[in-house]
Symmetry: C2
Subunit: 274 residues, 2 copies
């Protein structure tokens, strides 16, 4: 009888896709991820389409059905090699609906998608409203909750994933606000005693009528202690790695003896209009 | 007809009380607050008793009933002069119960108390479990929600106050963890688009069998933009002041057009055991 595994390796890819060139972006991803062994790899939001979609028609052109499109196929093949999970942001087509989503695969099998609950800025003109749900995917003993980019500003998103048992929050992002999220993720990790893996992109896009956007890089892996385990640069591409110990993420007790989950008082929260 | 006021001044006192000497601590407070004019003044947690209470008997000795004890009387007198609100941490006696609480007064009138929901470390041996509630007090057009020290780590506390309409979160504290809370309060302010006023103490206490404690100072006033408006030093006493514009705290819309309150999805949060 073997003990369950407690130590895992997680990685974030900080990439710089070219808008609209799915084939080129896939080839770049292949090169960037070649030889990377990790139990969890997180890629940025909309990682092969680019971000500044002009309208729904353009989004549909660059979208795919999970797990049948070109990105899904690459992720499945890659995860068969690593044996671990991969979470990657993409435009998900489902009939005449389209979502800003994260694909989740593990060891060559599709596990599902998470459809971003909180759409940022003009995303609301392009993507459909999602019903989520906020979910935790488990593979080989590692529990991974998924949220996408702007979900970070709503503390309820990370909280919901942590309450569902997430060890790690996989967080594909295309961040444009200067440093806010990167700082907040330390707090999300600390308040929930989980690991967080924010995979952000870099580079710029300017596609009229969308505003010119500069993506802020600084991808970050954070620990349940509220400390950064690995940080990416402001510009350029990189792969960040860190170790995850699920005995840490599954213990919600601080050195003070306080259990930040057991001592919640949900009957006394809320108040005001929801 | 006059327009309602939108601009207010808020202040935090960073103090260094002497354990157990209520009279001396009151005299020091008087001196530190002399001439201070502010619409809201926030004092630290347990601001005249000291923190390292050995047991309930000692806590009862240093406690008072609100609004009849020596601290309450000083706060009432002082607030009559300023015309504004004061929020101060104290040990509140209520029959045979005792709470780690915040007293709230305005313009010479008692408004009520808030009893700390989340007790830290050994506080649970000394104070009774509180039923809160998390409340917002209004005076002269300024809405002030109250939480105490360790409540900061539970995002639901600040969220509940903000959803109830708080412009400012008054946060009496006796912080001992290095910098965690001060950093998190920027995120609490940002995610809720409110002002926060954390009044922390400095100095050390070592009262066996309690551990030696060093209080971390760095009191902080934060803005809805997630920026610090005023920061205290790591050691010593000071008064911090900043301006509050309630047209900012009452607008939950980011520059991106996202309304961080209206776009919450409470039907899709939760999950897992409460």
């Amino acid at each position: 009888m073997t003990e369950p595994r407690t130590l895992f390796t997680v990685a974030a890819l900080q990439s710089q896709p070219v808008f609209g060139d799915v084939a080129a972006n896939l080839a770049t991803l292949d090169a960037q991820l070649a030889g990377l062994e990790a139990d969890l790899i997180v890629l940025p939001e909309l990682c092969v389409s680019g971000y500044s979609l002009r309208d729904r028609a353009e989004a549909f052109d660059l979208a795919e059905c999970f797990p049948d499109g070109p990105l899904s196929e690459r992720l499945l093949a890659l995860s068969e090699v690593t044996g671990g999970m991969i979470v990657a942001g993409f435009a998900e087509r489902d009939g005449d609906r389209i979502y800003n989503a994260a694909a989740v695969v593990a060891a060559g099998r599709p596990l599902g998608t998470y459809r971003k609950l909180h759409l940022f800025g003009f995303e609301r003109e392009v993507f459909d409203v999602s019903e989520g749900p906020l979910r935790v995917f488990e593979h080989a003993g590692l529990r991974v909750g998924t949220m996408v980019c702007f979900d970070w500003i709503f503390p309820e998103a990370a909280r919901s994933l942590a309450l569902q048992g997430a060890d790690v929050i996989a967080h594909p992002s295309n961040l444009v606000l200067p440093g806010w999220c990167q700082q907040a993720m330390l707090v999300r990790a600390l308040e929930n005693r989980v690991y967080t893996v924010t995979a952000n992109r870099t580079g710029t896009e300017h596609r009229e009528p969308r505003p010119a956007l500069r993506f802020t890089g600084l991808s970050r892996i954070a620990a349940p202690t509220g400390q950064a385990l690995a940080d990416g640069p402001e510009q350029g591409t990189t792969v960040l790695c860190a170790d995850v110990d699920v005995t840490v993420s599954r213990c919600k007790v601080l050195p003070s003896g306080n259990d930040v989950f057991a001592e919640r008082r949900p009957d006394l929260y809320g108040g005001g209009p929801a």
